[in-house]
């Protein structure tokens, strides 16, 4: 028997769907999301997408300008560098390393940060206070300094700088999780769980995590943009990715030698990094305002 319908639509979107509806209303945010998807596709499918081998040196075409300039050719879209390597392919491979390693960093930092933060939030007293203060202090040490110390101990390399940046990013997740868990523990729905006899671990996984999810996602977008900037900055200072590996910041620092004759070699890698960070920031901003306004209809 069909149910009685007073209204045409009797459909209540879930909170997550509400976020998506609100997010879609901002066209800019959707464009940012499309860019992130493009960068993700580049990261995954770069061997198929890149027109040339990034290390292939074609000595007949050195320092070819980009295709839109008078002496450029369409076969090398962004021209070639001082060793005759195709810049477009190198940028795609570089974007893969930069974006991929930043994603990994944020993923690890979220896991570790939420884990430790949850423990610190569920515990209380001296232990919690020590954890809090210790990580607060790490948070205020400049990332570059942590990276310099890590590089001094372990040597240069992509993985070592990734480790350093992860170390610098974890504290903010710990802090956020800890304050959130602490605030949530005093709310009524958690009290209800407690009265039902749930253990604190169960409360964390079934009650707190679902409501914390969005906060963490927003925080992760901020962390992702910081991670991209830091990875490429360390690559630029030649502390990060070393030579056979291609990374956007490292491409930038290598093209400094030909800055006079080939300014596009400086402009393009930086533009790639900038677009990546901008897309992440726009999506983060869109997500934040969507979360703020999702129940305002």
């Amino acid at each position: 028997m069909p149910r009685f319908d007073l209204y045409q639509e009797e459909y209540h979107p879930s909170p997550l769907q509400n976020v998506w509806i609100e997010f879609k209303r901002s066209h800019l945010a959707v464009v940012g999301l499309i860019f992130i998807v493009i960068f993700l596709l580049i990261t995954i499918f770069v061997p198929i997408l890149a027109p040339y081998n990034p290390d292939l040196q074609n000595t007949n075409t050195l320092l070819l300008p980009p295709a839109w300039e008078a002496n450029g050719t369409i076969s090398h879209l962004f021209g070639t560098d001082a060793l005759g390597r195709d810049v477009f392919s190198r940028l795609l491979y570089g974007a893969r390393v930069t974006f991929g390693s930043s994603l990994t960093i944020v993923f690890v930092a979220v896991l570790m940060g939420v884990g430790v933060g949850a423990i610190a939030g569920l515990l209380s007293g001296v232990r919690s206070s020590i954890v809090n203060h210790l990580f607060d202090s790490i948070m205020s040490i400049p990332t570059l300094l942590i990276a310099i110390v890590v590089v001094a101990i372990m040597g240069t390399g992509l993985y070592n700088t990734m480790f350093a940046i992860t170390l610098a990013l974890i504290p903010q997740f710990i802090h956020q999780t800890r304050s959130f868990v602490k605030a949530e523990l005093s709310k009524n729905y958690v009290l209800l769980d407690k009265l039902d006899g749930a253990s604190s671990v169960r409360i964390f996984f079934t009650s707190i995590i679902p409501s914390m999810f969005e906060l963490i996602v927003v925080q992760a977008t901020i962390a992702l943009s910081i991670a991209i900037l830091d990875i490429s900055a360390l690559g630029f200072l030649s502390l990060g990715a070393q030579n056979p590996r291609i990374e956007l910041g490292q491409i930038l620092s290598q093209s400094l030698e030909t800055a006079y004759v080939a300014p596009w070699l400086i402009a393009l890698p930086g533009l790639f990094i900038f677009m990546m960070v901008l897309a992440v920031n726009i999506v983060g901003e869109g997500l934040r305002s969507a979360l703020r306004n999702r129940f305002n209809h």
Partner: protein, 343 residues
């Protein structure tokens, strides 16, 4: 209040102690000879090694070594750089003020541009001006600083040839090093051409300051805008409006200070980003600051220098952050212990 003060002093002492312990352990972790890592001198003979070991008490137990390390630190005897053999204390005291100078200019620009613009955008939100300010701020803090610096160099130094590429001041000016802050030093030097020197120093400072401050300004704009928008929705603002105050009166008496309170702790967090950016930009503009110096130390594997430089920068940033946090808490007594202003 006193309780709060004691808590923060306690926190500061604990963190400083942790940092000291960390910097004490570092030479044990660095690759290479422990003695060279600590002293910066590579002993050539067995006797020299013995003397050095005696001086740094390497044969004693670890606590005696730590005590020795602290005593040396306090007496300004920080060892020598293993690449230049110059006393680290001297090198750092000439390099660190240069970085501070750069950070200070950037903070000045960010405060006097970012906060007013943020207020303007927040008060008249959802119109064209606000939209363009928001766009500028998102674009602004997405710039990689090192790229921004390079773009400025290619544009203003190589193409237009308006501004100098590197350094703090033209080498022709012989400015005596007194405080380390170039403008004060020029003032103190009493040179005849001090006006020309001043002008030259300003020209050198413009590009590095601009490259760092764009990112920080954009962040300040954003935080201020958010904060004033939140404040304007509060009940006491509505009450003031209903009593017939003008927008300006409300802003001056009610919302201005209340909007600044949540911004302060976020600004404290930005200091570490600011230092990172300043240190990166220094290497590009050959600004003789601590960032440039530390990066050179890494390239030359100068471990004593890395240790001392790290300790100084970290101590400074931590002290500054904790002080600002204390001030915030002292101003805003309602604030919960764990709460931190949302972005």
């Amino acid at each position: 209040m006193i309780k709060l003060f004691i808590r923060y002093i306690n926190l500061m002492v604990l963190t400083i102690f942790a940092l000291l312990v960390l910097s004490f352990i570092l030479p044990f972790l660095f690759p290479g000879d422990l003695l060279t890592n600590i002293s910066g001198i590579t002993p050539e003979t067995a006797e020299q090694r013995k003397v050095l070991e005696q001086a740094f008490m390497l044969n004693e137990n670890i606590f005696a070594q730590f005590q020795m390390y602290i005593e040396n630190l306090l007496s300004g005897n920080w060892g020598v750089s293993s690449s230049s053999q110059i006393s680290l204390f001297e090198e750092i005291s000439s390099a660190f003020p240069a970085t501070l100078e750069l950070v200070f200019y950037a903070l000045l620009v960010a405060t006097f541009v970012g906060i007013p613009v943020g207020f303007l955008a927040g008060l008249r939100h959802h119109n064209l001006a606000d939209f363009s300010v928001v766009t500028f701020s998102i674009v602004g803090y997405s710039f990689p600083v090192f790229w921004l610096a390079l773009v400025f160099i290619t544009l203003f130094c190589l193409q237009l040839e308006w501004l100098p590429i590197s350094g703090r001041i033209d080498l022709l000016f012989e400015i005596e090093h007194v405080t380390g802050f170039i403008f004060i030093d020029i003032f103190l030097s009493g040179l005849e051409e001090s006006k020309a020197a001043f002008k030259d120093a300003v020209r050198h400072a413009i590009l590095p300051t601009l490259s760092i401050s764009i990112v920080t300004t954009a962040l300040f704009v954003r935080f201020t805008r958010r904060s004033i928008m939140d404040v304007m929705e509060k009940g006491y603002i509505v009450a003031a409006k209903s009593r017939g105050f003008t927008q300006w009166q409300i802003f001056r008496k009610h919302s201005f200070k209340n909007a600044l309170v949540p911004i302060l702790p976020i600004l404290a967090l930005q200091i570490s980003t600011l230092f990172t950016n300043a240190m990166i930009v220094e290497t590009i503009f050959s600004w003789p600051g601590i960032g440039n110096w530390l990066i050179q130390a890494i390239y030359q594997q100068d471990y004593p220098a890395i240790r001392a430089g790290m300790l100084v920068v970290a101590l400074f940033v931590l002290t500054l952050t904790i002080t600002i946090e204390f001030i915030t808490r002292a101003i805003d007594t309602t604030k919960d212990e764990t709460a931190r202003a949302a972005v």
